[in-house]
Symmetry: C2
Subunit: 461 residues, 2 copies
């Protein structure tokens, strides 16, 4: 079943890497307004590439002054074959602190078999893998083994609003057999990995007011309520000492992962002591000991205080009784949890446990659901088979603790299974200085996705 | 018993007020390095005034480059009479926010019988009362009814270190029958007031560390400890829901105020609903209901969170698990409590209630004792009598919830009773915009302190 494209990728490996470097030199930081034209330049780069390799209907989709563009293209000449919707993003994270980078973030540099640059892992390097695969087929066979729609975005690292709106408005046009989201990583080097679920996210802000203004603690201490004290008491009531969330009904909709997943997790190499000491760097872990760490971080909902502020926290000391204190609080949701219902449980509980002498304001800033991937879907299994052929191992089925909202949108709006996968390694420094892409994985990734398209083309559409 | 000085103060009322205005025009903000020369100018102003009215041994005491000066003077020609050590401070608070001032803070302005200017109440206006009293006696009788030592400072609103060190080093030279600290106020207009106690202060900082760095809440949520959560749990354990401090032994050394005080407090006008709504501006008060609000704020120790910080609290949202969180925490102590012992109880308790998965660092930044005034001392009673003669009312004996460390130093180092009193009103806006001094109180204050010196002069030294 191997084909000419495979040889093409090997023959052109060096030139493809050079092209990726050019792509990485564009500082397309979507969160910083000063880089808006760079994000546009990255969109243009993708558009040109898609055109030059022979994709059709290539276009940049403008989102207006406050948004970054999308890029669309398709090739739909494989009748009766599946249609894959390919997703990646061409914007990148900011680069601060610059001093911690060994080589400049936008000057791609090879060291020790890795390519260092902002975006090399997240997500230009992986998006480029998809482009290289398309090129290989089109330049050798002159056609693709499956129908392809490409939808890349330029604001995954900022709002992500443009693509959400676009997919919702153009669901029919984007119809597909499966969506392929190449924005994840491998569990460890050499172990191909497919993500079977993403957690959803509720973001909230809780603000507590005590007195009408900051008061002198000598004058009013002992009588006036203290907003920080009240907020701390609320936060302490959100969890048990071991970290189980105490909001009544919080876990009610949570279902146990299926046996395939649990068995897969049990086989993964995991050393809790090493994880605690070297990955977390803490004196101990929290969480319900009846579940493994992977189970807790992948398949149980969580609640975290992301930030707190109140009163005086500068240099020196100011003996005030703070009038106002607030906390940013987020919850990660697992499949089957209704975000709106959970947000309401949270808000009701916070109000209930707020001391009588305090006033509380609970703002729900966003609430998006978790997503589950049906691993037995043939278009997921085709990928698993391609991975086994390429890497010599069955893939690990893992969940992502994080959230990729567009994956949920693909699933729910397009009613399509979503293949969540990728080739970054745990030490790729995503979102951090010295972001890197393993070069062996880059080339293997091209071969693996090529094999996947070929195997998917053996299925009926 | 009235005398020529009384007429002098009436005759010279307008000129004395003009002099006070000149004193107030000096922007002697001790906390701001840019105003260092202004604090020196205020010291020089006091020195010149003391010299011009006939005080002896007048001198500015330099504290070196990092400190503000003290001013000393004396008049010791009343053998067998008591010696009073007069204290006030000639530095002032910063003036931000300037936009909230109706007239410029350093352009003294009369409105509605009040003199508006930074320092008018705290404490230049009150220091000037002492200077005017000395002037009246020296310019009419040519002598004072008691021996007088003057020690004014220029950094009460910043560190206060210079005077503490000076008093400790020169205790013999500063020996006195009583210290007079004119840096307090009246409980309400028309009600002369003597403070019978000041609370001590422990300032502490508690820092909690969870993981070695901020972690992604999606990746590590459910396993990694959250420093803000841990700190909130510690804070929640510091107090009962009604605000009683839970540190074992915290209240052990606290003694019940004597009957004279409790009776005096019971007679004070106090409306708890008005206090809660209009003074505190809260939905409710906290504290142990077995004690009145005045009892709680004056005669019980308290613990307050003065500020808290941890994680991300800027605009937007960052789903981190914060590695580090910290809180500034202060305790107000009442007489008989040992600051070092209480600080240790606090630190031990915080360490004990810190979750096992967190690391905690407790720093005690300062610990000073409370002070009690023996109201039956003849030099305190002489003041009470002078107040009754001037204002037509027995004074209220109140405690100050706040702390004036130098008062404790006078008491403990000089072994002298300390008269804590003053003539500012509750709406004097001390430390705030539109600080003011009631002009009727200013003139009555001069008469009252004049009477006090006369009555004190009838006692044996």
């Amino acid at each position: 079943m191997f084909n000419a494209a495979s040889g093409y990728w090997t023959l052109h490996a060096s030139r493809l890497l050079d092209e990726l470097k050019a792509f990485l030199r564009i500082p397309s930081i979507s969160a910083l307004p000063a880089h808006k034209s760079d994000v546009q330049a990255a969109a243009d780069w993708v558009t040109n590439k898609l055109t030059s390799i022979g994709m059709e209907h290539v276009r940049t989709i403008d989102g207006g002054p406050d948004r970054h563009p999308l890029v669309y293209a398709d090739w739909l000449h494989a009748p009766d074959k599946p249609t894959l919707l390919l997703y990646a993003h061409f914007d990148v994270q900011p680069v601060d602190p610059l001093t911690l980078w060994t080589s400049p973030p936008f000057e791609p540099t090879e060291r020790n078999g890795k390519l260092f640059a902002r975006g090399s892992a997240d997500d230009k390097g992986q998006g480029f893998i998809l482009l290289a695969v398309l090129e290989g087929f089109l330049k050798t066979a002159g056609k693709l083994p499956v129908n392809i729609k490409v939808l890349f975005e330029g604001e995954e690292e900022s709002s992500g609003e443009h693509i959400e709106e676009y997919v919702n408005k153009h669901a029919a046009e984007l119809g597909c057999s499966a969506a392929v989201v190449l924005d994840c990583g491998m569990y460890e080097a050499g172990l191909p990995t497919i993500s079977t679920g993403l957690r959803g996210l509720i973001a909230a802000e809780v603000t507590v007011t005590g007195a009408s203004r900051d008061l002198h603690s000598g004058e009013f201490g002992g009588a006036a309520p203290n907003s920080v004290q009240s907020l701390a008491e609320i936060i302490a009531k959100l969890k048990t000492p071991t970290g189980r969330v105490r909001i009544p009904g919080f876990y009610k909709q949570v279902k146990r992962p299926d046996k395939l997943e649990l068995d897969s997790w049990a086989r993964l190499p995991f050393d809790e002591h090493d994880y605690c000491v070297n990955h977390v760097g803490a004196a101990g872990l929290i969480g319900d000991r009846r579940y493994s760490v992977l189970h807790r971080t992948w398949a149980l909902p969580t609640l975290e205080i992301n930030g707190i502020t109140g009163g005086f926290s500068g240099d020196g000391f100011k003996t005030v009784i703070p009038a106002v204190a607030s906390a940013k609080i987020s919850m990660r949701l697992v499949p089957d949890m209704d975000p709106q219902a959970v947000a309401k449980l949270f808000a009701d509980y916070v109000r209930k446990v707020t001391p009588k002498h305090a006033r509380v304001d609970v703002k729900i800033l966003s609430a998006s659901p978790a997503m589950r991937v049906e691993t037995n879907n043939p278009l997921i299994q085709a990928c698993a088979q391609a991975y086994k052929l390429t890497f010599g191992k069955d893939p690990a089925y893992v969940r992502e603790g994080g959230s990729i909202p567009i994956a949920g949108t693909f699933k729910h709006v397009l009613n399509a299974p979503v293949l969540l996968t990728g080739f970054t390694l745990p030490d790729c420094n995503m979102h951090a200085p010295n972001e890197n892409l393993d070069l062996a994985n880059f080339h293997a990734g091209i071969q693996a996705i090529g094999r996947y398209f070929t195997l998917a083309g053996e299925l009926n559409g």
